[in-house]
């Protein structure tokens, strides 16, 4: 049961990163790719109908974590208190920047929300990357299963680290670059002409940076956390993960050169998925490792909810996911193809 719920939560988080990832990527690139008001609107229109639904994956994953692993939910959310609150504020700002911009047709009004959109998207990407890096590195868990991390201490990934240290900031930068590239590839699929060309160029440039960062991330993780590869050594099949990561990266650049944007974007989805799965394999069966000694690790076994709750949960979760999947198919089908400024769009 613990195994199943570990992977169900992981799937929901992967869905969130892959889907909202391109919304954030579009936000990060917004000032760099759009040269005029039409292009700025086009970029917003490309995510306008879907960003809200994509964000629901985060809410659903949070709720699922709450009932399947209450100890993890309680410990991690209170321990990362300040960072999580900042993420919540950024999500508020991102949401209003996408939806309120179109309401008043004045230059300063639009510029204000454009600025807010970029600011919140960049910081969200960095914080998400840093969050994952925090989980990989571990936190100073107390005997009672709780901890509290300041935003930063001495920037070292030691026993008493801060939320931001050299390793987690690196995680943040990787996320920023990866999601920016993801967004650029999404835009290449959804747009035409100059904007599409600029998106492809941006994707290729970001790709080179991401390749370098991805390769550095492995030894960095091993420095930050010595037992990162334990599961990999025990189950060598897991070494498929780095192989797939490299294949996905190669696929991105190959397809992007040929102008096959859909496949390039697909490879980017695979890249994000496999990176996250790789991290999850490294963690399993821990949910949140401790820097103060492995006896304090929050494991699946320690955090798992009661058996009846989980059995019931499995039934409605399956049904709910089928429904959610259906809605996504309907919405993405309605808005398939290139975005244009003709027609009502979603008002953006």
């Amino acid at each position: 049961m613990g195994f199943i719920w570990f992977w169900l939560v992981a799937i929901m988080l992967v869905a969130y990163v892959v889907l909202d990832g391109f919304d954030l990527g579009v936000g990060i690139l917004h000032p760099f790719l759009a040269r005029n008001e039409q292009e700025r609107r086009l970029m917003l229109r490309s995510i306008g109908p879907v960003w809200d639904g994509n964000e629901v994956w985060l809410v659903a994953a949070g709720g699922t974590l709450y009932f399947a692993f209450p100890l993890l939910y309680a410990s991690a959310f209170s321990g990362f208190y300040l960072a999580l609150m900042i993420v919540l504020w950024l999500l508020i700002l991102r949401g209003i920047s996408v939806e309120l911009r179109m309401h008043i047709n004045a230059g300063v009004w639009k510029s204000f929300f454009d600025g807010l959109f970029v600011f919140s998207s960049i910081l969200l990407a960095v914080f998400y990357g840093a969050a994952l890096a925090n989980v990989i590195r571990g936190v100073p868990l107390q005997e009672d299963g709780y901890f509290f991390l300041p935003l930063w201490t001495n920037w070292r990934a030691g026993v008493q680290p801060g939320i931001l240290d050299w390793y987690t900031v690196m995680g943040g930068v990787i996320a920023l670059v990866a999601l920016a590239m993801h967004g650029a590839l999404y835009l290449a699929v959804k747009t035409e002409a100059d904007l599409q060309e600029r998106s492809r160029t941006a994707a290729r440039r970001l790709w080179a940076l991401l390749l370098a960062l991805t390769i550095v991330s492995l030894p960095a993780s091993m420095i930050a956390r010595a037992d990162t590869l334990t599961n990999y050594r025990a189950y060598p099949i897991a070494f498929l993960v780095p192989v797939l990561v490299l294949l996905a990266l190669l696929g991105i650049v190959q397809f992007c050169r040929k102008g096959n944007d859909r496949k390039a974007f697909g490879c980017s989805c695979v890249y994000l998925t496999v990176m996250l799965v790789g991290a999850a394999i490294g963690l399993y069966p821990r949910l949140l490792p401790s820097t103060t000694g492995s006896q304090y690790d929050i494991t699946i076994e320690k955090a798992l909810s009661g058996p009846h709750a989980l059995h019931v949960g499995l039934a409605w979760w399956g049904l709910g996911m089928c429904l959610a999947f259906t809605y996504f198919v309907i919405v993405y089908r309605m808005f398939r193809g290139k975005v244009s400024l003709e027609g009502e769009g979603y008002g953006h």
Partner: protein, 453 residues
């Protein structure tokens, strides 16, 4: 300041602000579906125009509800980690189900409803509106299930490691407290929407701008309002009150300001509870009424606060007393004004009667106050427990989150929500000022020609 108090204020502030928006969302969704239904059945385009107008306000209101709602789900963990850790196996269930069954539905169909009218057939567009309505009402149900379990825990057991687990899923969803509270709460949401709609309608009629649409808003608003206002008092409010008297007698005693048990207990209409002297200052009271309302007989004995140890009194007690009285007082006013308006509407005299239109114009903030006061009654009445009778609030908060950190984020939320309030008021005012676009006439341009930079 004490960390416990700050964590309570933190949650109280963010949830109170958040719920200003969903109450209109849920009520308005029902009224918009009503407009769409009438438009199709009577083939009356004015009702489609009305639906489109309210959809614009709905969209902004929904957005603020979404962005202020996400912090709520995470705050269980951030500020109330001890509570979440022990009760996640029960409460986490409906919270997760809200996301999975409601938010996906709403987010998918809201877009189709707001911007898909030209691409969809009338009935398909009606269906999109209907699904948004269903989504928002499901969302309300799951949250009330979570809250009702904290008020009246059922269908649970305690595992050896001290955490709670649900034992009967059906029992959790059919908690009688949840069903009563849901009915009471949803009719409260319809009241908010009805008063907001009447207010805009009265504004248009009094100003003689878009008077046709103003009259439609008034008609639908008054009919929905009078039904909801009566339902709010009887049966939902009445049943809820009696159920509460049986299961949370200390809360009811504090709400009513009844310090000592008595037969033929009076109902205090106005007064100021004096905790030191354990009495009500300046009371205006009617004898026997409280006994009658709870037990159906004027002679029944109602338990006063003296029956309960001091450490089980809800706190802050005066705030609970006032919240309850504000809710009940306003509820009475709502029923009265809506009954008068409905009578005049039936006689065909409402649209000329300035003495009723003016109160309708000015009353729109009051349902927000009444709904907030109602929730404060429920939540302060539950104190000093976070889960009634099982877990004390003082055992629920995150002990590693210091009061300084809690205050920091509370102030942050206050700042951001101030900005949201200003944006909301400006944008909704513009929509009301522009008015409903009338079909057949050139529509008001939504945006000016694009200037190329």
């Amino acid at each position: 300041m004490d960390a416990l108090v700050l964590h309570r204020i933190h949650f109280a502030f963010t949830i109170t602000y958040h719920y200003l928006f969903p109450q209109l969302t849920m009520g308005l969704a029902l009224l918009i579906v009503t407009f769409k239904t009438i438009a199709i059945r009577r083939k009356d385009e004015r009702y489609n125009e009305a639906a489109r107008f309210w959809a614009k306000i709905f969209a902004i209101n929904f957005l603020i509800g979404v962005v202020t709602g996400i912090p709520m789900e995470f705050q269980f963990g951030t500020n109330w980690s001890q509570f979440s850790r022990t009760t996640g196996g029960v409460i986490g269930q409906p919270v997760a189900m809200e996301g999975v069954f409601s938010f996906f539905l709403e987010s998918a169909f809201l877009g189709l409803f707001l911007f898909g009218e030209k691409r969809l057939s009338p009935w398909k567009h009606w269906a999109a509106a209907f699904l948004v309505f269903v989504g928002s009402w499901i969302s309300g149900f799951f949250i009330i299930v979570a809250n009702a379990w904290m008020q009246h825990p059922v269908a649970y057991r305690v595992l050896p490691n001290g955490v709670y687990e649900v034992t009967s899923f059906r029992g959790l969803l059919t908690n009688p407290w949840a069903l009563l509270q849901y009915a009471h709460n949803m009719s409260g949401a319809v009241i908010t929407a009805a008063f907001v709609m009447c207010s805009v309608g009265a504004f248009y009629v009094l100003e003689n701008r878009f008077p046709d649409h103003g009259k439609i808003f008034l008609r639908i608003g008054v009919i929905a309002g009078v039904i909801a206002c009566v339902t709010q008092i009887f049966p939902t409010g009445d049943l809820h009150g009696r159920f509460m008297a049986r299961h949370q007698p200390a809360a009811v005693a504090a709400m009513e300001g009844l310090f000592s048990s008595q037969k033929g207990a009076p109902i205090v209409l106005i007064g100021q509870p004096n905790e030191e002297r354990q009495s009500i200052d300046n009371p205006i009271a009617v004898n026997d009424v409280l006994s009658f309302l709870i037990y159906g007989t004027t002679k029944a004995e109602v338990k006063g606060l003296d029956q309960f140890p001091r450490d089980q009194w809800p706190a802050p007690l005066p705030l609970l007393f006032y919240s309850y009285h504000i809710m009940a007082g306003l509820g009475t006013y709502f029923a009265l004004i809506m009954a008068i308006a409905a009578f005049l509407l039936w006689r065909g005299k409402l649209f000329q009667n300035r003495y009723v239109l003016w109160p309708l114009l000015l009353s729109f903030p009051l349902p927000y106050i009444a709904n907030t006061a109602g929730w404060m009654t429920a939540e302060i009445g539950r104190q000093p427990w976070v889960v009634y009778g099982l877990i004390r609030t003082s055992e629920g908060y995150s002990k590693y989150v210091s009061s300084g950190n809690s205050l920091f984020t509370l102030l942050g939320f206050m700042g951001i929500y101030t900005v949201l309030s200003i944006l909301f008021i400006v944008l909704v005012y513009r929509i009301i000022d522009t008015g409903p676009a009338i079909s057949g006439l050139p529509p008001v341009p939504k945006s000016m020609p694009i200037t190329v930079a």
